[in-house]
């Protein structure tokens, strides 16, 4: 494991080499004026200078629709796994932190083989943020930089990339890359400068308390008027859930072939803001009020999930929910700041 440097021209050659070797590479690319993770076909399409992707890279670990089982009627169910290897190219630190959290959640207690299988087959090349998005607040959440979880971390230092290989997978990915040279102390200092800058600049919505204060704050905030006030204009559309890198709730459905001989059981993304998320058969809804669902999301991020993952706040400051929310009520910082102010 080590820290090297690759010029931008050599990096492009390296990516082209990966693609021509037939590896499945999901890289960040432009889509109109925005960015997405998608199958990379050419190194020219890779945009490591992106601000934020529309959907987080969780879509490769927990796909929007994922077959868990197949069956033949009336025989037994059979587990389905996708054993394909995948390289994720360009994961920002806040998204890497989110993946690290999902790794804990899907492996603790009951081990989710479907998620973990995808995770093990994935090589993650993270990259430090080169251009802040308009709603990012990762600096407030302590996720502007990341130091674990990735196989490789890239940092754009102007004339090239500093390349830190952190695992055997990462090491073998870059092994033999043409032009790869040991990073100089100047290169490492330049990387540190990027980190220092991002720790300040990735903060378009500054949180006025420490992230670690949030669980205690929420302890006192259950009946605060903010939930009702904000939820008044909520469409219950669930966009805040689907764009969130740490939301992982899912629904499970069965789909049967037209001749009823075979079928599959699949899971799909679900969202706690959606009206019938907690509705049981017989139509009793255990979280019927919009304000209650709105509050639930903020409590999951700030209290419930943290209690399962050693206190880490399950909001990584990507700002996607802020941009996705049409009535503009989803901003977690606005809510946490309001509570911090009111409940001093």
């Amino acid at each position: 494991m080590g820290i090297s440097k690759l010029s931008k021209t050599d990096f492009k050659k390296f990516v082209d080499g990966l693609l021509s070797s037939g590896k499945m590479v999901m890289g960040v690319q432009a889509q109109g004026e925005r960015f997405v993770f998608d199958v990379l076909k050419s190194a020219d399409d890779l945009r490591l200078d992106y601000d934020v992707t529309i959907l987080p890279p969780k879509k490769f670990l927990l796909p929007q629709v994922e077959t868990l089982l197949t069956y033949t009627i009336p025989a037994e169910y059979k587990s389905q796994y996708d054993n394909g290897q995948m390289i994720l190219l360009g994961v920002h630190p806040y998204d890497m932190v989110a993946i690290n959290q999902l790794d804990i959640l899907f492996s603790q207690d009951e081990y989710d083989t479907h998620y973990m299988c995808r995770r093990r087959n994935m090589t993650i090349v993270a990259c430090d943020v080169a251009k802040p998005s308009k709603n990012v607040f990762a600096a407030s959440m302590g996720t502007a930089t990341v130091h674990e979880g990735y196989d490789v971390l890239l940092t754009d230092i102007g004339d090239g990339y500093v390349i830190e290989t952190a695992t055997d997978k990462g090491e073998s990915l870059f092994k033999g890359a043409a032009g790869l040279a040991k990073a100089s102390s100047g290169d490492e200092a330049a990387r540190k400068a990027v980190w220092d800058k991002n720790k300040v600049e990735l903060n378009k919505h500054p949180l006025k308390c420490k992230p670690s204060d949030i669980p205690a704050l929420l302890e006192k905030a259950y009946t605060h008027p903010v939930w009702e006030e904000k939820a008044r204009t909520c469409f219950s559309c669930g966009s805040c859930n689907t764009t969130c890198p740490t939301c992982y709730c899912f629904d499970v459905q069965d789909d049967v072939s037209w001749d009823r001989t075979t079928g599959k059981r699949y899971r799909t993304w679900d969202g706690c803001l959606l009206e019938n998320f907690a509705t049981v058969a017989g139509n009793h809804n255990f979280r019927k009020a919009r304000a209650d669902r709105f509050r639930h999301r903020l409590y999951r991020k700030g209290k419930y999930v943290p209690s399962k993952i050693g206190g880490q706040i399950a909001c990584v400051g990507c700002g996607r929910c802020i941009g996705a929310c049409i009535p503009d009520i989803a901003n977690p910082v606005a809510i946490y700041n309001r509570l911090a102010e009111d409940l001093k």
Partner: protein, 280 residues
């Protein structure tokens, strides 16, 4: 099994085990009783209060609490016809195949209650999960004190397990008090909601273990009555229902504030739910 997990011998938590329906019977107009056996021949391994995820191939999966005591062979569920999976279950017959995952969740306090008097308060199909513990107690009768069963049902025709309730009533070591909400010409017993039976309990409620299961609205009134009688909250156990998909603490549907009902429930001590506003 996937390549990487097979190395570690990890089990697929979503894979149902094949099982066969041994017996089906309608208990009333909407509830169907089923006796099921795992095709492996192994016992389900559940404890009273735990639930299973039942799969109907081609339709889907639904969580159902086991209604039978682990002291008997195979296991039983009772299905109310309310949704897609339950509707499909109602169309099934002995010999048909099901998929079973589980058992999941918490159980009734079978050890803690040893030597104690027990009061079961059941509303409608709330009897179904309670029955697992009631029969467990009756199969280990000398381990437990007095047993009082309160059963409230909305109307006469909805009554469940009438023969079994009759057998319990006939025993001299069990007291059964039954009521129906609406009067009926064939019913000469108590009329009124289940809480009207609470004053008729002839034992010290403050020291008894009290086990409650029924529709959401029932909990509020039962708990109100019990608290008026100064029953300690730690002696009261509630069996809660929630929407469940995975049964293993991942999918998020059953969450009550910070609690996953599929893991820490469905049976909760009432005192554990204090400060959990979404619980009841």
């Amino acid at each position: 099994m996937c390549d990487c997990c097979s190395v570690e011998k990890k089990k697929d938590i979503y894979l149902p085990e094949p099982a066969t329906i041994n017996e089906c019977q309608m208990l009333n107009g909407t509830e169907m009783y089923m006796h099921i056996g795992l095709d492996s021949g192994n016992p389900l391994g559940h404890m009273p209060g735990q639930f299973v995820e039942v799969s109907v191939v081609g339709i889907g999966e639904a969580p159902l609490t086991v209604s039978s005591s682990p002291t008997q062979e195979g296991f039983e569920i009772v299905v109310r016809k309310v949704g897609r999976v339950s509707g499909a279950l109602h169309a099934m017959k002995p010999g048909d195949k099901l998929g079973i995952r589980g058992p999941f969740g918490s159980m009734y306090p079978i050890d803690e209650m040893k030597g104690r008097n027990l009061v079961f308060i059941c509303g409608g199909i709330g009897l179904v999960p309670q029955r697992a513990f009631i029969n467990y107690v009756l199969d280990n009768r000398s381990d437990y004190g007095e047993v009082v069963i309160l059963q409230g049902t909305k109307c006469y025709t909805d009554r469940l397990f009438c023969d079994e309730i009759g057998e319990w009533s006939a025993r001299d070591d069990v007291t059964v008090l039954e009521t129906i909400d609406l009067p009926h010409e064939q019913w000469s017993g108590n009329v009124g909601v289940v809480t009207t039976l609470i004053p008729k309990i002839n034992l010290d409620l403050k020291t008894a273990g009290i086990l409650v299961c029924g529709p959401p609205i029932m909990y509020k009134f039962v708990l109100m009555s019990l608290m008026e009688l100064e029953v300690p909250m730690q002696n009261v156990f509630l069996n809660l229902e929630r929407r469940m998909k995975c049964g293993v603490g991942k999918c998020g549907h059953c969450q009550i504030n910070g609690l996953y009902v599929c893991q820490s429930g469905p049976v909760y001590r009432y005192s554990e739910l204090a400060g959990v506003p979404e619980a009841i």
